[in-house]
Symmetry: C2
Subunit: 198 residues, 2 copies
Amino acid sequence: MSRRDMTDRPLPTKDRIIRAAATLFASRGYASVGLAEILAEAKAPKGSLYHHFPDGKSDLALAAATWASDGMLKLIAASFEPAESFHGGVTTLAHKLAKLFDLSDQWDGCPVSATLFDGPPDTAFRARANHLFQGWINEVTWQAERFGMAEPRAREAAETLFILLEGSWQLARARGSSDVLRALPNRIGDLDAPGART
Amino acid sequence: MSRRDMTDRPLPTKDRIIRAAATLFASRGYASVGLAEILAEAKAPKGSLYHHFPDGKSDLALAAATWASDGMLKLIAASFEPAESFHGGVTTLAHKLAKLFDLSDQWDGCPVSATLFDGPPDTAFRARANHLFQGWINEVTWQAERFGMAEPRAREAAETLFILLEGSWQLARARGSSDVLRALPNRIGDLDAPGART
DNA sequence: CCGCAATTAGACCAAGTGGTCTATTCGTCA
DNA sequence: TGACGAATAGACCACTTGGTCTAATTGCGG
């Protein structure tokens, strides 16, 4: 609510709404954020919302989650691209995530979960969440292969990383501390190529 | 909403309310469940709610989360008590949890997270979540020590198990499948006492 | 059986919800 | 410039929310 002075304004209305929704959903969950609040934060009228998202809030939630997921995808790539080993990439990713978590006052959780896991018992929400998560796992799998890990093993490592990430994130929220997130790399043990770590 | 015919009725009103709230919160989150629905499920009037929980919904949420957490504590104990090794206990716990997940139609997530992690930006909620989670970790730590793990290592193992649990649960929800939960023991790798697994 | 607190019962309320609809303004191409 | 669709603007609606309050009922100790 403070770092938008030069960024949000020139942004098209639709994107402003998506960003506002994604941010608010991430910190308080889909159900406890009202359209009024989203619109206020995005400085857009209701008409615009229903023009860009004919199906209303649920429509917007899908878009917001997808946008947030894209951000995570970029974060993963940015972490592994310059790394010298898979484990190095994991470490960078964990630290970047910890920093983001601290920026949210140790409050926000996984944006996809917060957006798609409460609300109504909507199977479309679940399906999208699965799709987005799978996207993260695929990206990590690809990165793992870049570092020479074989197919079944790479995928397993990616899945484990995802699980550790989500779990650590949860614990970090409860503790109000990013320490668990930063310590994540230590937990991945010998998942790296045998004997390749450190 | 079907297995209460002989269990709920003789239960005191307060407990009926807590159980109903815990169940509903677990499956749809704190914010998206209204008092009306809870009261209907618990077959109790509003007056009773505010008699037993003067602070209303938030008060009830704390109680519901605590009750759910107690259940998990029992589940942990029941899994490790008869086990022959730490890893065996982990396996049993993972399977029990998977079964519960399946009973909820592959829908419900961690009851504590669902109840205390959305709603208002209430620090009391976070504090309670941290307390309850720490309770789980302490219980597992204790169990790990029973199997001969040393103090720093036992605690680390317990934390890792917690993280894997929460993460796997999240992925299981997205996939609508308990498989990830059941596969959890495979991921704990060599956290067991060195060379003791399998 | 009485009396008194604990509990149950539910009408009621202000505030907020997501959603709809009509009117207006904006941007662009002829 | 005129015109036409895209986009913005916000009044409005039915409904639900969490919460309050008074009245009735229940259960138990004397």
